[in-house]
């Protein structure tokens, strides 16, 4: 900052006229307030939650918004171009993201980084430069993961050559890039193990050495039919088992534990009647799991087969082992995605499509002028439900205008 004051010229005149003289309101006694910057209170279990995404169409200005247990804004992170992923590395007291930047916003030289933020002050601590190849997905699942000990971060690349970048968070360094031809999104499987899904229905195990370099890569046999009943990449983990939902609305419980991978269980999300009544999986980030109660949550709706990614209207809750349906939660607002917090009194968070007008107004506009007219007023916000009984707790503050977010996620 150049010496500001001298160059401002003497043209303006200060007359602090008749400043008040009354008890402590006399100018000498009056102590001005002072601006400061907040630090987040320590999280001792408060049900905070994130909502984040690429803010399309303003995709150069990705954001992550933090909300408190009442759905009020707590803070924000600005996270670059086509923003996909944020992970709260609790053992490190750090928020880790994968970010992309161009030297001139939408043109010029591309730089990809893994960014580290202090989880209390939400200040940017450091960045680790990685190859500028990070996959930009519309769905935020499976593109970015930490080893279970939160030492290494793995970033999925696509140019369209497929590979993975490995980053050592302790040393703050890029370790190496490993080719994963024909295979892409990754799922954690212990301290130094990951599995990627391959196009033919098999999985590729990626085993890391202690220092994060790749020890072995091994293809498993086929675990699912990649054409007729492919797995959605939006899976949820309980212990060492990942629960995938599939194109024909089945659940595939795939245990991934170090060197072993096996299809533990497979059951249908829908009964024959429900299938006939067009109940299908819905939304983008459409599974969640509550580990303690061994429950799987899946976003569902009634629609045609090709509408399987359109917003969901209900969340069905299953016993993850038996597949028995325990709850059917009808949502207050259609949702693109959802997650469940891992507390004793868990909350179900949904990323809603919100039309800010009375329902009858919206219905009228929809009927008289069609979908595109109502779309002009669409906003986004979250809902929090009691995950044990589906009771709706609150709507969050609106996601500010400026572009779409694609994920909701507990703190």
């Amino acid at each position: 900052m150049s010496s500001i004051f001298t160059s401002l010229g003497a043209s303006l005149l200060l007359i602090i006229s008749n400043v008040a003289i009354a008890e402590n309101f006399s100018p000498e006694k009056f102590v001005p307030e002072k601006a400061s910057t907040e630090i987040l209170p320590e999280n001792t279990g408060q049900e905070w939650f994130w909502s984040y995404g690429f803010r399309m169409p303003s995709a150069a200005d990705g954001q992550a918004f933090l909300f408190d247990e009442h759905g009020k804004r707590l803070g924000q992170l600005s996270t670059g171009f086509w923003f996909n992923n944020l992970i709260n590395a609790k053992s490190r007291n750090e928020i880790i993201t994968a970010e992309t930047y161009f030297s001139r916003g939408t043109r010029g030289e591309r730089t990809d980084i893994v960014s580290v933020y202090n989880a209390r002050s939400l200040t940017h601590k450091k960045e680790i430069i990685i190859p500028p190849k990070r996959m930009n997905g519309v769905k935020n699942n499976g593109l970015f993961a930490l080893t279970d000990d939160e030492r290494f971060a793995l970033v999925v690349n696509y140019t369209p050559a497929q590979s993975i970048s490995i980053v050592d968070l302790d040393r703050g360094e890029f370790v190496e890039e490993v080719e994963t031809p024909g295979c892409s999104v990754i799922y954690g499987a212990g301290k130094r193990n990951f599995y990627a899904i391959c196009g033919n229905g098999s999985f590729m195990q990626i085993k890391l050495a202690e220092d994060g370099t790749v020890e072995t890569r091994k293809r498993s046999e086929k675990l699912f039919n990649a054409v007729d009943d492919f797995l959605s990449i939006a899976a949820s983990r309980i212990g060492n088992t990942w629960y995938f939902v599939s194109r024909q609305y089945n659940v595939y419980a795939i245990r991934m534990d170090g060197d072993d991978i096996e299809l533990e269980n497979k059951w249908s999300l829908v009964t024959d009647e429900e299938r006939a009544d067009n109940w299908t999986i819905a939304g983008l980030d459409h599974t969640a799991a509550h580990e303690a109660s061994n429950q799987l949550f899946v976003l569902m709706h009634q629609g045609e087969a090709h509408q399987f990614e359109e917003p969901g209207t209900e969340v069905w809750v299953f016993d993850a082992s038996t597949g028995e349906k325990q709850q059917q939660i009808v949502l207050e607002e259609m949702s693109l995605g959802m997650k469940v917090s891992q507390t004793e009194a868990p909350r179900l968070y949904t990323l809603n499509i919100h039309i800010p007008m009375p329902a009858l107004f919206a219905a009228w506009i929809f009927i008289t002028e069609g979908e595109s007219e109502i779309m002009k007023s669409v906003r986004q916000r979250m809902s929090a439900y009691d995950a044990t009984n589906g009771e709706h707790l609150f709507f969050s503050d609106l996601i500010p205008t400026g572009g779409m977010v694609m994920s909701v996620q507990p703190w």
Partner: protein, 178 residues
Amino acid sequence: MLNNWLDKLTENTTRNRARLTSRRGFLQKIGFFMLGIGVYPLMPIFRNGAFAEEATKIPESGDPNDCNYWRHCAIDGFLCGCCGGSVTSCPPGTVVSDITWIGTCRNPEDGRDYVISYNDCCGKSGCGSCGCQRDEGDTPVYRPQNSNNLNWCSGSQADVPYHCSLSVVIGVKEPTPS
């Protein structure tokens, strides 16, 4: 990206879900395998030389800027026709992404199934108009050729910045008896 879903809107305005609009016909599924290596060398021929001649005229009707237009059956993004381009041309100053995903859509005009290449236009921020998401035959990103859940601009000269998507007819199939 939120349209075509609001059929359910009236369904969800009140909890007792009264459906006001009809259910759309089931599009016939066409299985379509792509050889990882095999198809890609094929792709480049779509790009240069082979197209010196005029493209085959395809009988089609309706508003190409409407999300339900027959070509858009597996698109996910902004229709370039609403951004200064058209179904086959990118808006000024953007770059065509040569590597992209493929869909197969039935043309109601002649009942034929056409192979559509959804090339992205890249190099500027999102166009923001006519967002349209339809997922017929859409596959996950680990089967990229038919996946619209991927920013294909990242394979273009202009790299990541996604502006809008085209629907280019690059092949035709025998009309299978429906």
